[in-house]
C-alpha cells in the first residue's frame, strides 16, 4: 500500500516536475517566460478554471461527472449581468450572492435529476448543458451584456489587489481551492464524498445518506460555477449568451484528470488539481510565446485527457465500470 501512496505522491511530484521541465524548456527558448510577469499572466489565466476544477473534482470524486458547469457559469453570469443592467444602482457586491445562489440552484437541479430518477449524471448533465445554455439565451433575449453595464468595481477585481499586488480574482481562486481543501479533508461532508465515490454500495451501510451527499455535491459544483460566472464578468467585462462558459467543462475536465482525479471516484486531491490547472495555464501562456497557433490547444486538451485516462488505469487497475455492468 505504500506503493499506491508513493504513486499518488509521485503523481503530484510528477506534475511539479512536468511544470518545471516545461517552463525551463520554454524559458531556454524564450527567457522572459521565466519572469514574475509571466507568472502573473499564468495566474490571471487560471482563476476561472481553478474554481471550475474544484467543482468538477468534488463531482468526480463522488463518482459522477458534471458536463453542465460551463452552462451554469454562463447562466449565472447572465443573471448577474441582467441584474446590473436592469438595476444599475444596485450595490455591486450583491452580484456575488446572486451568482452563487443561481449556480447552486441549477446544480441542485442536476442533483435532483440524478438522485430522483437514478439517471447517469453524464447524460443528465449533457441534457442540462444544452438546457441551461438555452435558458441563458432566453433570459437575455440572446443579447450580450456589455462592458459598460458591468460595475467598474467588479471589473477592477481582475487587476487591483488588496495584498502583495496579487489581484483579487487570483486570491479568490486560491481561496476557493483552500476552502475546497478544508471541506474535502476536514469535514464530514468531504470524507463522505470520498467514501461515496470509493464504494457506493458500502456507503449506505456506513451511514452515509447517499442522496443527500449527491445533492450537496452537485449543488456545490453549481455554486462554484456560479462564482466562476461572476468572476468571468469581472475578468472579461462582458457576458455573452453563447460564448460565456462554452467549452469550459472540457478545459476543466482536462485540468482535473491531469491533476490525478480518478474518473472511477474516490481519488483526487486539491493539490493535484491545483497543479493540473497550473500546468494547463503554463501551456496556454506558452503557446503564443512560441508562436504555436491557438488552434492546437483543443487537440492538446483531448490528448491529455486520453493519456491521463490511461495513466489512471495503469495506476489503479480497477475492474470495468461500464454502463452495462452498472446496470446489471
Amino acid at each position: 500500500m505504500t506503493l499506491v501512496r508513493s504513486i499518488l505522491l509521485r503523481r503530484e511530484a510528477g506534475i511539479v516536475v512536468m511544470i518545471f521541465a516545461f517552463c525551463l524548456a520554454v524559458g531556454l527558448y524564450k527567457p522572459h517566460f521565466l519572469t514574475v510577469q509571466s507568472l502573473r499572466i499564468i495566474l490571471l489565466l487560471v482563476p476561472l478554471i481553478m474554481i471550475g476544477a474544484m467543482a468538477q473534482m468534488l463531482v468526480l470524486v463522488a463518482r459522477h461527472v458534471d458536463l453542465s458547469i460551463g452552462s451554469i457559469l454562463g447562466f449565472s453570469a447572465m443573471v448577474v449581468g441582467l441584474m446590473y443592467r436592469e438595476f444599475p444602482d444596485i450595490y455591486w457586491l450583491v452580484g456575488f450572492p446572486v451568482a452563487i445562489l443561481t449556480g447552486a440552484f441549477l446544480g441542485l437541479g442536476n442533483g435532483l435529476l440524478v438522485t430522483i430518477f437514478r439517471l447517469p449524471s453524464i447524460i443528465v448533465t449533457l441534457g442540462t448543458l444544452s438546457l441551461y445554455r438555452g435558458l441563458t439565451f432566453i433570459i437575455s433575449d440572446a443579447r450580450q451584456i456589455n462592458r459598460s453595464v458591468i460595475p467598474t468595481e467588479l471589473k477592477a477585481m481582475s487587476r487591483t489587489s488588496p495584498i502583495f499586488d496579487i489581484p483579487w480574482i487570483i486570491l479568490i481562486a486560491f481561496g476557493v481551492a483552500l476552502m475546497t481543501y478544508v471541506v474535502a479533508r476536514h469535514t464530514q461532508l468531504g470524507r463522505q464524498i470520498y467514501a461515496l465515490g470509493s464504494n457506493p454500495e458500502a456507503a449506505p451501510l456506513r451511514g452515509i445518506d447517499v442522496a443527500k451527499v449527491t445533492l450537496v455535491v452537485f449543488t456545490l459544483a453549481g455554486a462554484l460555477s456560479g462564482l466562476a460566472g461572476i468572476l468571468y464578468a469581472s475578468r472579461w467585462g462582458f457576458v455573452n449568451p453563447s460564448n460565456t462558459g462554452a467549452g469550459f467543462e472540457f478545459q476543466v475536465i482536462a485540468a482535473v484528470v491531469i491533476g490525478g482525479v480518478s474518473i472511477n471516484g474516490g481519488v483526487g486531491t486539491v493539490s493535484g488539481t491545483v497543479l493540473g490547472v497550473l500546468l494547463l495555464g503554463c501551456v496556454s501562456a506558452a503557446l503564443p510565446l512560441l508562436g504555436i497557433p491557438g488552434s492546437t490547444q483543443n487537440a492538446i486538451y483531448g490528448a491529455v485527457i486520453l493519456i491521463a485516462l490511461l495513466i489512471d488505469r495503469s495506476v489503479r487497475q480497477r475492474g470495468v465500470t461500464s454502463l452495462s455492468r452498472a446496470a446489471s
Partner: protein, 331 residues
C-alpha cells in the same frame, strides 16, 4: 456630415417597429450568431428603416457562428417565402447552394457587413460599412499618429482566415511598405486571437513579452481591441504601448475614459441596416437596381453609389472615436 448622420441614426434608436400591411415587403436579416452586440445596432437600423418605409423586418441568427449553422435558417426563410434575405455570412462558400435555391425562387439575397468573396455570383449585392480598401491605410495612420510615426507595431487580428481582417492587414502592409511617411515604423508581428477574449489576451501578453520595444498594437476586431486594451490597462503601460484598432464605442468607452486607449475607429453598423432596408425595398419595388455605377438616395446618408462587384458602402471613411466624442455614440 458623417457624424451628423450617425447622430441622426442614433436618435431614432428608441423607436419601435410599427404595424405593417399585407403589401409590405418581407425582409429577414440572418446574423452571424445571436448575442453579438454588433448586430444589435445593425438590426436596429433595419427596424427603424422599416418603420419609415413599408417593410416587415425579422432578425434571426443561429446560436453559434459555425459555418453551416445559418443553413437551416435560410431554408426556413425560403420556405416562408420572404422577399429579401439579408445576411452576414459565416462562410464565404458553405452557403452557395442555399443562396442559389433562394434566388431561384425570386428572393433577393444581400450580404451585409461581410461578403462571400470569390462567390459573388450567388448574391445580388453586398452592403459594406465602408470602403475596405482604405481601412488598412486609415488604421496605420491612426496608430502612427499615436506613436509619433516611429517604432515597432504589431497586429492582433481575429482568426487566421478571417477574410475582412486579412484584406485590411494586406492594406496595412502595403501602406507601411509604400508610404514614406511610415518609414520609421516596423510591423514586427501579426498574431491571431480567434475573436476569443482568452486567446486574444494571451496573444497580447505574448506580444508584449516577445517585443519589449513595442510601441503600438492594431487590433482590427472588436474582441481583440477590448482584450488588448484590458491587458494594457491591467499592466498600467498605456503610456508605453498604444492600442488602437476597430471597436465598438460601448465596449471601449471605459478604456477611452481612463486613458488606456486614446483613439480607435469603426463605422456605423446602424447605418448598414438602415441602408440595407432602403436598398432592399427599392430593389424589390424596382425603384432601384443593383447595376454597377448606379446611384440612389437614402435619407440621412445622401447619395449612394453602387461600386464594382455590386458593392455598396455606407460611409466613405472610418469614424474615429476618442475622449472628445465617445459619449456621442450609443452602440
Amino acid at each position: 456630415m458623417l457624424k451628423k448622420s450617425l447622430l441622426a441614426a442614433t436618435a431614432v434608436l428608441t423607436l419601435t417597429a410599427g404595424t405593417s400591411t399585407a403589401e409590405d415587403i418581407d425582409i429577414v436579416f440572418v446574423g452571424k450568431n445571436t448575442g453579438n452586440p454588433y448586430f444589435d445596432s445593425l438590426t436596429q437600423g433595419f427596424v427603424d428603416a422599416c418603420e419609415v418605409i413599408a417593410c416587415n423586418f425579422e432578425f434571426v441568427a443561429p446560436a453559434t457562428a459555425e459555418a453551416t449553422s445559418q443553413i437551416p435558417f435560410l431554408e426556413a426563410q425560403i420556405q416562408r417565402g420572404v422577399d429579401v434575405i439579408a445576411i452576414s455570412p459565416n462562410s464565404p462558400d458553405a452557403l452557395n447552394q442555399v443562396f442559389q435555391s433562394a434566388r431561384d425562387q425570386g428572393i433577393i439575397v444581400l450580404t451585409v457587413n461581410g461578403d462571400i468573396t470569390g462567390n459573388e455570383q450567388f448574391r445580388d449585392a453586398t452592403i459594406l460599412p465602408t470602403d475596405f480598401t482604405k481601412v488598412g491605410a486609415d488604421q496605420i495612420e491612426m496608430v502612427g499618429s499615436l506613436i509619433g510615426y516611429e517604432g515597432e507595431i504589431a497586429i492582433l487580428s481575429a482568426t487566421t482566415e478571417a477574410p475582412d481582417q486579412n484584406f485590411w492587414i494586406e492594406g496595412m502592409n502595403e501602406t507601411l511598405a509604400n508610404d514614406p511617411k511610415y518609414a520609421n515604423m516596423t510591423l514586427v508581428a501579426t498574431v491571431y486571437g480567434d475573436d476569443q477574449p482568452e486567446k486574444s489576451t494571451t496573444e497580447m501578453e505574448a506580444l508584449l513579452a516577445n517585443f519589449p520595444n513595442l510601441k503600438g498594437v492594431i487590433a482590427p476586431t472588436t474582441v481583440g481591441i477590448a482584450a488588448a486594451a484590458q491587458v494594457v490597462q491591467s499592466r498600467g503601460i498605456a503610456d508605453q504601448v498604444k492600442v488602437t484598432g476597430l471597436g465598438l464605442p460601448s465596449e471601449m468607452r471605459e478604456f477611452v475614459k481612463d486613458g488606456t486607449v486614446e483613439g480607435f475607429q469603426l463605422w456605423s453598423p446602424y447605418n448598414e441596416g438602415w441602408l440595407a432596408s432602403y436598398f432592399a425595398v427599392g430593389l424589390k419595388n424596382g425603384t432601384m437596381t443593383n447595376e454597377v455605377g448606379g446611384t440612389f438616395e437614402v435619407p440621412n446618408l445622401g447619395t449612394i453609389t453602387i461600386n464594382e462587384g455590386n458593392s455598396i458602402n455606407t460611409q466613405a471613411a472610418l469614424t474615429t472615436f476618442n475622449a472628445d466624442n465617445i459619449d456621442d455614440f450609443d452602440f
